[in-house]
Amino acid sequence: MNQTIQLADGNGGEENNKLINAIFFEAYGNDILRKNEDAAVIEEGTLAFTTDSFTISPIFFSGGDIGKISICGTCNDLAMMGAKPTYLTCAVMIEEGFAMDDLKRITASIKTELAKNGAQIVSGDTKIVPKGSVDKIFINTSGVGKIAHKGISSNNISENDVIIVSGDIGRHGAAIFANREGIDISTTLQSDCASLWPVVEKLLSGGITPTAMRDATRGGVAAVLNEWSKQSKICIEIDEVTVPICDEVKGICELLGFEAYNLANEGTFVLAVKKDQAEQALHILRAHELGQNATIIGEVTQRYTERVVLRSEYGTSRFLDLPTGELLPRIC
């Protein structure tokens, strides 16, 4: 390990995992933490509990702002465990000199997003720090949710499952990058930032019993699939041609040399669903505004366990690895 912390250590990929294992798990790991799920399942499987911090730059971006994303992020982690978000805490660290109007815009977004989840903030904290100590505003939210469907886990995926994405991938990462770099070939490109509980609720009440769900945030779809393949000791094989990616995201990837699989999403999630429920799950997803582009993108095999394989239209295949190195600094 390096002697000092580097930006790449927070990339949601290989270096990030190393840091978590070597430092945090080493110091205070326990059975619940080591499950490495989006949210911890506690109280005999009845509650999900999670936390997330948000340092995104720019704080206002097309498709959202730091307030919206700080509610979506935490609530989505709960939703991915089949839990309805109920109570949240919210801590803000604000840099001296921050504009009051901006703060009001952010709190208004928080309010709107809470309503979509049917959740409330029940405890809060405020710290104001001298100029330069944080960049404008950092937000931490924690939340608990009532588990509506038990047993969702990224450790139980098997060859009976298929892999579904709920929509086209990479929009959040690409939008933030375009915003930051002032690339305007993509004026129509918006972050996919959205609260997922409403669509998850539809799936669960429609009788779908997902094996695993995960929102493909930092590290993108590549990170989710790689973590799943390791946690469940399976090989995930993806048919590249089926993966929905919009033209603007393709264009930005082309210009900047990214892969859409590595770009962050904030309202697109990956599901592992039993084969016999796949059609029904697609049907429910596509009927919802957040799932119109939902698609089956791959299957589970034992060909190369703990690896993800991409099958191309040319009849060739290759590994899809965990993203490494520095991706976009501060996308969430």
């Binding site: 002697q3 270096e15 082309e254 210009l255 394989v309 040319y314 060739t316 290759r318």
Partner: protein, 375 residues
């Protein structure tokens, strides 16, 4: 139909599976006529990336193999020069500006990423011209542009030097590491063990230099060259052109990438480079060794901008070799494949490279590691 040009037009047609499939059949037909196997070197890392990312090596007939070339500018940079970047960045009054590819490359003390976490001010830019803004915002700092790349990026560096001279900017300096393509090709061919039968020539480099720089290869060495674009269809088409040359008993420089490459290239850019930069007497290439006249430096008239001269006291010149087990040199000559290396994927990984080919995704070892070789 909308006939406005969109970002989609950047890539769409050149990845069409139908076209790739058709070209594969044609290559198969021609390959059946070959009386000995054909080993083709793609000189440029961009092509290595395309071949591995799309798995084009997997759909080649058995008697055609790719040899992955030295064409990734950060991979072939010797460690002592990576150290220069690190040392310069650690100077208290310096902001080091460079291109993103440099960020992870480890030198003997660490990478620029390490330097930054220790407090160094390192900026990664997409365009060298961004250096002007950084210099204007930090008038009290010395801004050192650490210039890397083949002929493709050299004109941008030259354009920045021109601005600095014309505007008499006092706080921008240059550490020049620009390298050139034909010399390492010659160096590889000079080894009698070298297995290369033909070259897929670089795309972007050739836009600047023109295809004329490859004319000595058929003439002096009897090796055909086809200058190819970066997309899968380009690479397939150029393989077909090379096999046809062999079957028809021809040996020439041909251009597949006609949408951008001419024989003469961009002469305005060539002249501008020539005005500010000249050939170095020699340059050490990681994985290959010392190659005469294979890199550029500032002309003596512009010495006052040359960070290598200004900071000569603190910049080491002693060469640092790669790990003893590293076989990058053999890989580059087509004598070995990455998985023949004993430490491939174990001691040597992209996060801790022991040799040049593992440094960036354009290096052969790194591309094998990242994409696998799923035959």
């Amino acid at each position: 139909m909308n006939d406005k040009l969109t970002d989609k037009d950047l890539f769409e047609g050149f990845r069409d599976p139908k076209v790739v499939g058709y070209l594969k059949e044609e290559i198969d037909k021609e390959a059946a006529k070959l009386d000995k196997p054909l080993r083709l070197m793609e000189v440029c890392g961009g092509h290595t990336h395309t071949i591995m990312k799309y798995g084009l090596n997997q759909i080649m007939p058995k008697n055609i193999t790719f040899i992955h070339g030295p064409g990734c500018p950060v991979c072939v940079m010797p460690k002592e020069r990576i150290d220069h970047a690190y040392i310069l960045s650690m100077q208290p009054d310096v902001i080091l500006v460079t291109l993103g590819d440099m960020i992870k490359v480890p030198g003997s003390n660490g990478s620029l990423q390490d330097a930054r976490s220790k407090g160094a001010d390192v900026r990664f830019v997409y365009s060298p011209m961004d250096t002007l803004g950084i210099a204007a915002d930090n008038p009290k700092k010395k801004i050192i542009f650490f210039a890397i790349g083949f002929e493709t990026t050299t004109p941008m560096t030259a354009a920045l030097i021109k601005q600095v001279e014309n505007l008499k900017i006092k706080n921008i300096f240059f550490h020049i590491n620009h390298i050139t393509v034909p010399e390492p090709m010659r160096a590889l061919l000079a080894d009698p063990a070298c297995q290369i039968d033909g070259f897929i020539g670089p795309s972007h480099v050739s836009v600047i230099t023109g295809s004329k720089i490859y004319e000595p290869f058929p003439a002096e060495y009897g090796k055909p060259v086809v200058v190819a674009g970066f997309e899968p269809v380009d690479v397939m088409q150029s393989v077909l052109m090379l096999v046809k040359q062999v079957n028809e008993g021809r040996c020439a420089v041909e251009t597949e990438y006609t949408r951008s490459v001419t024989r003469e290239g961009n002469t305005t850019a060539q002249n501008m480079i020539d005005h500010y930069l000249r050939k170095r007497s020699h340059f050490r290439w990681r994985g290959i060794g010392d190659i005469p006249e294979s890199a550029l430096e500032l002309r003596p008239e512009f010495e006052h901008l040359d960070a290598e001269k200004i900071y000569a006291d603190i910049l080491p010149t002693e060469s640092i070799d790669d790990h003893k087990l590293c076989i990058c040199g053999d890989i580059l000559k087509g004598l070995a494949k990455p998985n023949d290396c004993k430490v491939f994927g174990t001691a040597c990984k992209p996060s801790s490279p022991l040799g040049s080919c593992m440094v960036s995704s354009e290096g052969a070892c790194s591309a094998y590691y990242k994409y696998g070789n799923l035959l």
